[in-house]
């Protein structure tokens, strides 16, 4: 049927608050939503319809609403546009619903993050069709002929979601919000879909409100999609396993999987964390936090329904799969949250996990459960990998840092899937003086030891960070390198966790004089595969993006897909200027936006990037995915989830431009983990050409 889908993207303007309206919407804490005067002008809309007459009419209407319009008569092209890749879609004739599905599947995170709303438009107003549209994830169903007034209101869907997210953040009572939303939607749906009898002569103005893409909702209603993706996921995992990390490139994976209609672009979606579209938002969730806001972070993460629920779901599913995955289960608990939790969490965490938890120490616990255990063996290995999860507790360790008063405990749980690499988490802190503290240096050393990959026991490290530990780049690099050696990824999937700890990265601080770490100690947590990169925002750190070793990033051959950012949590660092935002947005957007998102926090750019660079260069074995995608918001904290990838060795010492790093990282497919970050769409320039 000739359905049309319109995707509304919130546009992002990094530096220029006035250009794009929706960009003006930043949410730090729920209360702080700033809407520019021009809102909703500038809202980016992509219209897809095979009926060119309608297309033209809509284009004009949307122009009149002062939206940025891109029209597209073919679903294929539209999808490409969304992915910012032209002409490369190997998609057989796609109809509107398929497009919708694909968008939903692949862009789930984006949808949440960037408030991409999908609207179905059709001349067919039957209940059946409307249901279908809704089930495919449409935000709303408009019946043709469309009237201008209806279009004028589409922006509210975008905003509503954002506001709801913020509300959730703050209140922590997500369930209420969800229920409310759900209830509300149901009621609306019931009342509005009475509809569209074809016999009606007047254009039907009824809209049925589908339940919105609600990141808090588990898609229990759509088991079929879940199952399919689960199967695909398993296939993917076994394919990767078969190929071995080194050789797991998209093409080969596709061949092995041998699923008709599967394309490269879909791989990231499959490879990600959850097996159902609804879980995809965990994929690529970055955790960015600022120690100053760490308590908020924890609070927000923990109750976040999406994360928690989906994570649990995933865990449940995985624990069925992973025999050894004892770790998976305990992980479920900890995520509940509150800051003090770290302690609680640690209690729940198997003994191997965390070690010292000192109030004033930065502790990073890495946990590599089943993954490690699995001596890499065939397909089984992959399954086991699912159980990887780690929890980290971060405790501010630097007495110097002004914000050490927090005792933030941060729990991260990641379930990594399909990769042989365990998560590696490193915490790097940057003290106010601008010196990167190699907090994790110790950690690294500790990590080096336990490289017993062969052991079935999880590899857990807790890292104690000595306060005010300054790292000299050279030293750190050396040490890191040493640490990296055991990291080599073998075909069997052993991971080198330590490799991840490229704290030398952190030491890069010295190399980045331009990095102005004015403030608060920011720490970033770099977690390797699944990689969690936490780049705490530097509240007023102005980072000179260019000074960083951009070359590194650029020359890096890693292709990395930034995982999508989950906008769920917002840590505001609104006052933080975004050096990269403006520059990067252009670059980033043209990458494969799917799956990976990185928000870069300006402040933290230096150390993390270096670390990441290094890490990636040395540790990552194979690039599973080639498509780069990166998005980041300027102020946002950046998290980059990364899949185990082997990155070509880079000169770690050079300053790394975090933004560039993110870009390069994003070129690899990332299986990410959780990214909790500030998801202001303002800073995300998402695809689209207008």
């Amino acid at each position: 049927m000739a359905t049309m889908r319109r995707v509304v993207q919130s546009s992002v303007s990094t530096s220029d608050a006035t250009t794009t309206s929706y960009g003006g919407l930043t949410s730090c804490k729920a209360a702080d939503i700033v809407i520019s005067d021009q809102f909703p002008a500038g809202l980016r809309v992509l219209v897809v319809d095979d009926d060119i007459t309608c297309l033209k009419i809509l284009e004009q209407m949307l122009h009149r609403c002062r939206y940025h319009v891109t029209t597209c008569p073919q679903a294929k092209v539209a999808l490409n546009l969304l992915r910012e890749r032209k002409g490369d879609v190997y998609m057989p004739d796609m109809d509107g619903y398929k497009l919708l599905e694909h968008v939903g599947l692949e862009m789930d995170l984006h949808i949440h993050l960037f408030s991409i709303k999908t609207f179905v438009m059709s001349a067919d107003g039957s209940t059946r069709a409307v249901m279908k549209g809704i089930r495919h994830g449409a935000c709303d169903y408009l019946i043709k002929p469309i009237r201008e007034e209806e279009l004028k209101n589409i922006w509210q869907h975008v905003v509503r979601k954002k506001w709801n997210e913020n509300k959730e953040l703050d209140s922590g009572s997500l369930d209420d919000t969800d229920q409310h939303k759900r209830g509300h939607d149901d009621a609306e749906y019931a009342s509005s879909v009475n509809d569209a009898t074809d016999t009606s002569l007047k254009p039907l103005k009824k809209r049925s409100n589908s339940k919105e893409e609600d990141d808090g909702e588990i898609d229990n209603d759509d088991p079929s999609i879940k199952e399919t993706t689960l199967e695909l996921h398993q296939q993917f995992v076994s394919a990767v396993n078969q190929l071995g990390i080194d050789k797991a490139v998209p093409k080969r994976i596709l061949e092995l999987m041998n699923v008709p209609g599967l394309t490269r672009e879909m791989l990231p979606a499959i490879c990600r964390f959850g097996s159902s579209p609804c879980e995809s938002d965990i994929y690529g969730l970055f955790l960015l936090f600022d120690f100053t806001l760490l308590s908020d972070l924890v609070k927000s993460i923990a109750p976040h329904p999406t994360f928690m629920q989906k994570f649990r779901l995933y865990l449940k599913r995985i624990s069925g799969v992973a025999q050894q995955g004892g770790i998976a289960n305990p992980l479920c608990g900890p995520v509940e949250a509150n800051v003090k939790i770290a302690l609680a969490a640690s209690g729940q965490i198997p003994p191997q996990t965390l070690a010292a938890l000192h109030a004033e120490l930065l502790v990073v616990a890495m946990d590599q459960p089943a993954l490690l255990q699995a001596t890499p063996q065939g397909p089984k290995c992959i399954q086991v990998d699912h159980g990887v999860a780690f929890v980290q507790h971060l405790v501010k360790a630097n007495p110097v840092a002004p914000n050490t008063s927090h005792n933030p405990l941060h729990l991260l749980k990641m379930l990594l899937q399909g990769s042989d690499h365990g998560p590696l988490v490193t915490l790097v802190r940057q003290d106010p003086n601008g010196n990167m503290l190699i907090d994790l240096l110790q950690q690294q050393q500790q990590l080096q030891k336990p490289q017993q990959r062969s052991t079935v026991s999880e590899l857990r490290r807790s890292i104690n960070v000595q306060p005010s530990c300054h790292v000299v780049p050279s030293q750190s690099s050396a040490s890191f390198q040493a640490g990296n050696s055991p990291v080599s990824v073998t075909q069997n999937g052993s991971y080198s966790r330590t490799a991840v700890i490229d704290y030398s990265l952190i030491s890069s601080q010295s190399n980045c004089p331009s990095l102005n770490t004015g403030q608060v100690s920011d720490a970033f947590l770099v977690v390797t595969y699944p990689l969690l990169l936490f780049l705490p925002s530097v509240s007023s750190c102005s980072v000179n993006a260019d000074s960083c070793a951009s070359q590194q990033v650029q020359t890096s051959s890693m292709t990395f897909k930034a995982s999508r950012l989950l906008p769920g949590f917002v840590h505001s660092t609104s006052n933080i200027p975004d050096p990269y935002g403006s520059t990067k947005s252009g670059d980033l957007l043209n990458q494969e936006p799917f799956n990976d998102l990185g928000y870069i926090n300006k402040g933290t750019c230096l150390p993390p990037t270096l670390a990441m660079e290094r890490f990636f260069s040395e540790n990552i074995g194979t690039r599973v995915k080639q498509e780069p995608s990166m998005e980041f918001g300027d102020n946002a904290k950046v998290g980059i989830p990364m899949l185990q990838q082997q990155f070509p060795p880079n000169d770690l010492m050079s300053k790394v431009n975090p933004v560039k790093l993110l870009v390069s990282l994003s070129r690899n497919t990332v299986n990410i983990l959780i990214i909790h970050g500030w998801a202001s769409t303002r800073h995300l320039v998402y695809g689209g050409n207008t």
Binding site: M1, D51, Q60, A123, P145, L201
Partner: protein, 174 residues
């Protein structure tokens, strides 16, 4: 013909199109979308509609000639035609499309053929009418006048009607 006469003729003609159901409110919307930035918007859209519809009608004819009729395909075409005609405001075409779709669902080839004929007929009617309308517009413009804004006219008429009906009521109720 002088300008005023042309304009009056234009208004009358247009009103009749609405009354006869050739056009509906959606067409008014289209006109409202036209502005200085897009002065030929309506003409452009309508031309697109013509092209598209002709293509669809040919496809439909071809599909119905087949040995084994692919009703899904026919339905898709009709659906599209319905969508575009409703966007333009070609009401009568749209109505026939609705009936057409019903026959498609029933897989009634006779009904479909009959509907196809009807659609063609309605389509050519509306096409002729719109073309005449545009011609009138063109004449007015070349004569140096401006196109009477229909919506205002109708609103005015409606207002007058209301007013008159109200006053009548008042008289009676007294």
């Amino acid at each position: 013909m002088d300008l005023v006469q042309l304009q009056r003729q234009f208004v009358d003609y247009k009103t009749s199109l609405y009354h006869e159901g050739f056009l509906d409110e959606q067409f008014t919307q289209l006109q409202e979308l036209q502005d200085e930035n897009n002065p030929d918007f309506v003409v452009e859209v309508v031309s697109l509609f013509f092209e598209d519809s002709e293509r669809l009608l040919n496809e439909l004819a071809r599909a119905l000639e087949q040995q084994s009729i692919d009703y899904k395909r026919i339905d898709a075409h009709v659906h599209q035609l319905k969508g575009s005609s409703s966007s333009i405001g070609a009401q009568r075409v749209q109505k026939v499309c609705i009936a057409f779709r019903n026959y498609c669902e029933e897989q009634n080839v006779e009904g479909c053929l009959k509907c196809l004929q009807q659609v063609r007929h309605e389509y050519s009617l509306v096409k002729t009418k719109l073309e005449s309308l545009f011609q009138l517009e063109q004449q007015i413009l070349t004569a140096g006048g401006s196109i009477p804004i229909f919506s205002r006219v109708t609103k005015l008429l409606k207002g007058i009607y209301l007013l008159s009906s109200l006053s009548l009521y008042h008289i009676f109720s007294v």
